[in-house]
Each structure stands twice: as structure tokens, then as C-alpha cells.
Symmetry: C2
DNA sequence: CGGGCTATTGACGTCAGTCAAGCGGGGTGG
DNA sequence: CCACCCCGCTTGACTGACGTCAATAGCCCG
């Protein structure tokens, strides 16, 4: 299968046809595939939303920046996740590939056309927006009121349910990404992980520090006070 | 007009008829009115969502609690605002009247029935959910990355656009409510307001401390770094 | 007039941030 | 093949912004 790798911002209008994966005329929704290299931007905040994306392999971060560079990551998008879905016409986050990432992409316009006639599709879109809202609401509680240890514990529990195969969490993102997701600094995240390690809640394996073994999920959960 | 005042949790099922405002048989959506006294709960988190509410007069806070009592207010609902709209079956916040508050209420079920047949209504519901999502996304940035002064400035700017008649902001909520909305303590909010006062950005009028005059909107905006 | 509630202000404490050093793995180039 | 460098992470020492605790003042209401 011929797949082009993005080195800068892609896909650009009319580039879909380039790698021969646009829909045939009988398909209503064009489903294409594209790969973004580690660190490349999928779309920028306030750009018109032309596509909706689904992660096939890889990981994506969605974030907002303040003028002085402070960054808040609103969500991580992992395999299976759909992102870039906007009701208004413009993206409200910048999205970047954390690691090399392959996505399916669908023209927003096609999707809206289908949704207009197919109530089931419309309902699904509504459901996705609702799920995003739920996530944001929980995250406000975390950002506004939880301690650093609670935030990191909550993060690990979230990642555990979202990307674990077996009992090893293979984090695609750096400590800085985690910090910007949790409203902390990378040092504080690192210290919290070390403390959880000392407590016997988790272990590190492999030669990178991004593979985490959960040794005691119950104890880990006790560090996040939930609501 | 006969309107009952809630002293505890209301309305209870079948209580709508009590004050004679349920819809006549020709109206599809039943539109009733109800008043909650200051401090009373409109609904609790995880309760089944039976009604959708619109503030007529007053103000409502929506919040989540951690087990140890830490509170995060997710939104304030002011006259005209619709709240309690859930896609799933249960409320995800507790809602309380901040001051005596009169709401219109609509049975969720009726609303869903109408939405099923009327695409315009469905679109509006989707739009409200999207607006809530936008608000939550902006608030994550505030909670995760802004300083106390920036948060308070952002809060005043939000309230200015949402409830000002003339150039006086008449805040219905206490310093504690503001603090729990901004992820701060009430003392920090008070200090930030004092600083903004010193800077000549705002003044207080009246005998309560909840009436604020914006003297310099431009300068105020410069305290919130926006994105 | 008194009690309770809310807000302000000050003194002090603490948790997370800042700054900096050092470690270790991976990749590159000599 | 090895040496070096770069990058991400950890850890320590110190700082600082915000939280905590407490005193006081003003307002509201009975």
C-alpha cells in the first residue's frame, strides 16, 4: 500500500488524490489514510476544519497556547479515537503527532451530508461531542482541585484503561506532555511517578522510562480521590 | 400568578401540576415555571435527568465534589442560560440556586421527542452541547495554566459580557463560589480583586462587595493573556 | 443592639515551580 | 567500533505563588 509520509503540514487540499486513496464515486464518505511524522502538526487552532480524523496507529496531542508559550493539552488521541470534529467551522485546538501516526481522514463536508440524511450517524456525532464534554468536565475537576499526586494517579488510571494491552502501560508521550496535560511541570510529574514507585504502586521496565507496570491498581486508585 | 417556592428539593414528579403551569394538551413541550430559594439544590450529580432548565431570573452554580469536600464549579448559569441538558440519562453536576432563582423547565422526554421529528430543535440541542464544550475547553486552559490574577481578570471579563447592564457588574455569587470556579481560595480571589482595585481597573460600589464597576476594560484585558 | 455571614487583610506555611547538576540510552560520526 | 553528544528523565536545593489560619470590619436581619 502506497502511503505518503508528511514532513510538514499535510494533507493540503487536493493532496488526497495523490496517494490514491480517495473514495470511489459510489462511496459517500471518502475515507483516506495519512501518516504524520513525530512532532508534525495535523492542524492548527482556528484553522478551518476541513477533515475529521481517526487515529489508526500512533498518538496525537490537542493543545492550546497562551501568548507567552504556556501550553495546556486538552486531550490525547490514541488508536481508535476520533478527533478534529468541530461543530463550528474552525478547530479549537492545535493537533500534533506525538509519535509517527497514521490516521484515517474524512471530509467534514461529506460527514455532515451523511449526518443530514442518516439519523444514526447524526446521533453518533452528537454522542462523540458529549463524550468530549464529559472528559473536559472531569478534567476541569482535576485541574482545579487535585494535588499533583492525585493528578498523576488519575492520568495513569486513564491511560491504563485506554491503551493497555496486558498490564504494561506503554506511554507514547513525554513527561512534558503529561505535565502540560495535568497542569504541572515535568519535574513535578517525575517526582510523583518516583513517589508512586517508592510506594510499590508501579514499576518501570525496558530502557526507556515510558513503559510502566502497574503493580497495584487498587492502591493507585486510592491516590486519586475521585468524586 | 401562583408560584410555589421550593424549600427543599423540587420539583418532585407530579408536582408540576401543583402550580397549574403544565402545558395544555395542544402544546408538545410542557413549559413550566419553578422557583428555588437561595442555596437549594436543583438536582444532584448522578441523578436521572428528568428536566432541562432555563434560568428566568437568578443564578445557578453547577459543581462537582471530591470525597473530602473540595469543590469545582464547572459553570454559572445566568438569566437566559439553559442547563441540565444531558445526552446520557444522568446529571454530571450538582446544580444549586445561588440566589432565589426562577426557572422554566421542560421534560427531557418531551424535548427528545420533539428533537426526533424537528431537525431544527435537534440542531439547537447539538449547538448548546457544543457551546458547553467550548466553555469547558477554555476553562481547562484557565485552570491548568493561568495565574490567580489572570483567572480573576478572565472571570470579570466573562461576567462583564454575560450579565452587565451598563458598566456595573452585579455579581450574584460569593467570593467562595468565584474561588471554586477559578480553582483558587476565596482569600486569593479577594487579594486579586484588591490588586485590580489598586491598579485602577475596577471600583466597588454600594454596600455589598458584589457590585463592581469596570473602570478600564482594556487594562483589565491586559491582565488576562488570552490565547 | 447583637449575632451571623461575608469580605478583607496580615502573618506564616507549604506544595509545586525554578534552576541546575547529573545520569543513561541512542544515534552519529570519526 | 568506540567516543561523544544530545535528549529525556531524575534528583536536589532553593524560591515563590498560593493556601492556611486568624483577626477584624462591615452589612444584614431579627
Amino acid at each position: 500500500m502506497f502511503v505518503r509520509i508528511a514532513t510538514d503540514r499535510s494533507p493540503r487540499p487536493n493532496s488526497l488524490r495523490d496517494f490514491g486513496m480517495t473514495s470511489d464515486p459510489n462511496t459517500i464518505v471518502s475515507l483516506s489514510e495519512f501518516t504524520y511524522r513525530k512532532g508534525t502538526e495535523v492542524y492548527g487552532e482556528k484553522e478551518p476544519a476541513e477533515y475529521v480524523y481517526q487515529v489508526k496507529v500512533g498518538a496525537v496531542r490537542s493543545y492550546k497556547l497562551l501568548t507567552d508559550g504556556r501550553r495546556q493539552i486538552g486531550a490525547f488521541h490514541l488508536p481508535g479515537d476520533i478527533f478534529g470534529l468541530e461543530n463550528g467551522g474552525a478547530h479549537r485546538f492545535t493537533a500534533e503527532a506525538i509519535i509517527d501516526t497514521t490516521v484515517h481522514l474524512i471530509r467534514r463536508q461529506s460527514l455532515e451530508m451523511v449526518a443530514k440524511s442518516d439519523a444514526m450517524v447524526a446521533k453518533n456525532l452528537f454522542g462523540m461531542t458529549t463524550a468530549n464534554l464529559h472528559h473536559a468536565e472531569e478534567h476541569m475537576l482535576l485541574l482545579g482541585r487535585k494535588t499533583s499526586l492525585e493528578r498523576v494517579a488519575a492520568f495513569l488510571l486513564e491511560m491504563d484503561t485506554r491503551l493497555t494491552a496486558a498490564d504494561v502501560i506503554a506511554l507514547p508521550m513525554s513527561r512534558r506532555d503529561i505535565a502540560d496535560y495535568l497542569g504541572l511541570t515535568l519535574e513535578t510529574v517525575s517526582r510523583a511517578l518516583s513517589r508512586l514507585h517508592e510506594f510499590g504502586v508501579l514499576g518501570f521496565i525496558g530502557n526507556t522510562q515510558r513503559q510502566i507496570v502497574l503493580l497495584d491498581r487498587v492502591k493507585l486508585a486510592s491516590f486519586d480521590l475521585q468524586n
